[in-house]
Amino acid sequence: MATSHKEVWQRATVVEVRPVADAVQRIVLAPEHPVAIEPGAHLDVRLALGTDTVQRSYSIVDADISGSRISLSVFRSLHSRGGAGLMHALVPGDTLTVSHPLQDFPLRFGASSYVLLAGGIGITAIAGMARVLRDRGDDYRLIYVGRTRAAMAYLDELIALHGDRLDVHVGDENTSLDVRRLVATLEPDTELYQCGPIRLMDAVRREWIERELPIASLRFETFGNSGWFEPQEFTVRLPQFGIETVVGPTQSMLGALEAAGADMMFDCRKGECGLCEVRVLELEGEIDHRDVFYSERQRDARSKLCCCVSRVARPQLGAVVTISSS
């Protein structure tokens, strides 16, 4: 039972748009039914992509006290699954279908100290937490990691707000974050909240487990859209139903299989629950595990994958995966 997990749909009107970093657009929405926003909350957005309706999740960066103005910030990578392009095209006066705010990443109050770690666009989930902890006078550090300063949304505002509680690590300035050192120097009762690329989050998780810190004190959210390879087209075969189909770079394997008529089981669609697990029978390429359901050991086995978010990849050549499903 998350604090608010029930998807109720409403209309929202775009009231303001502006770029806040390279390829990052801030979009302010006025929802039909405002409710106060908790840090860590997100919105699901329904978008018409060609003839399909796709659903995307975006963290709420900030909102006014009543939730009548909600700000999202959307990163559009070269390989965005199409949704980001539609979001970047919004202009004031447009309307779109959004969920009521959903909460799967709640900030707990009362910890003795906090580390908030944001990588790239992950700052959207973390900025609100940092603001609340600052306002409460809690002991926190905010760590913000990016490739270039120009790509880091809200950097100036965060520096102004958090001063020396903020550590900035920038790839092209050779100030990359030393994850091992970060985790090694934490007080044992620190709570760490992270949102960012899967490589960063996995590195933290690995160190966390190695140091035997309490696993429930490592908090993270992923919408399953970050991987080890750039998304590319591949072929999936499901011999038990006689299905072979191509998964486009902006499509999920689950979506492509459903479109091809396969009766698939799934629930969360973000790589958490494990219900969409399929068995890998043959593989030409590498599995790009984008879920958080498998442990490190299970990922290494390469025999199963969560088809709602995970993909396969093979540089230059087309990857092919043959699977069986429930």
């Binding site: 039972m1 998350a2 009543s66 709640p106 409460r136 309490p214 429930a216 993270f220 958080v292 050991r297």
Partner: protein, 363 residues
Amino acid sequence: MAGTTTAKIFPYPLNTWYVAGWDHEVNRSILARTVAGKPMALYRTEDGRPVALADACWHRLAPLSLGTLIGREDIQCPYHGLRYNAAGRCVSMPAQETINPSATVPSFPAVERYRYVWVWPGDPALADPDLIPDMHQMTDPEWAGDGQLIEAGCNYQLVLDNLMDLTHEEFVHTSSIGQAELSEAEFITSHTDTTVTVERWMLGIDPPPFWRKNMRDKFPGFEGKVDRWQIIHYQAPSTICIDVGVAKAGTGAPEGDRSQGVNGYVMNTITPETDRTCHYFWAFMRNYCLDSQLITTQLREGVHRVFGEDEAMLIAQQEAIDANPDYEFYSLNIDAGGMWVRRLLERMLTAEGRLPVTPVAAG
């Protein structure tokens, strides 16, 4: 007329502390109790810290209160064995090597103070323990006494109305504390942003049976007239501590010298459970004969009987409200205290964005 202030079913603020249980009710076993519409599973960690988690497992919403306490602070779902720590984070899931990061149950801020466990059902970011109402007589060595919990079948506001106007004692409590002078005496009402006070003095009267007994505990064989006071101190949203007592008539009690009298504090704090039920925690504390367990027991049992009369009236009133949905409340002069309480509650609800309220029909 039917305004918000006279709503028959009054909504309750959420951004506030409510008592979830007596200290002795919250143990290394699990107590199920609904506070402000939120079912909670209450227990203590091994080091004694109170914990209040939402009483529904993240997975399929089985009640955690039917589960088991494990280790120093964990609770295990009775159905599929998911385990949560005191912060409500899942620490163990069946049949998988990782834990779903979404797997949490809400953990409500919980603080033990004044012999009660208080919980904050609203926005946890605002839960400041300094906002707990002052009920220091509950633990102050200058005071002694005990109390109970009434599961009252009425909207919590009806209990507040009851306690803010003690004129009803004359009619409801005829054999114990009621007397005709109650509705004859003047009263003075005042308020601040978070408090309401109603003060009433009855000078040179015969003490009713309850107070004659108390006077004789302190002054054996006492006979004669007394000066009687009732000073009702309301603290938002639902705590009412009533300074009550009598002193030998004309010995200076109204001017501040209570040495020739007996003084009690009726400590009431009312926790909304649902729209039509509440947990009514009360205690009677006294500042004389502090060592007498006999008097503590006699007073607790005596007040229990008196409050039983209130409970019967409140239930009957709630039933009549629900049976007469087309009729509204009207007010009397004696409702000044209760109406200020309603006004302050209205402001708290407005601040939470939970008004306007339309009076709710029975059902």
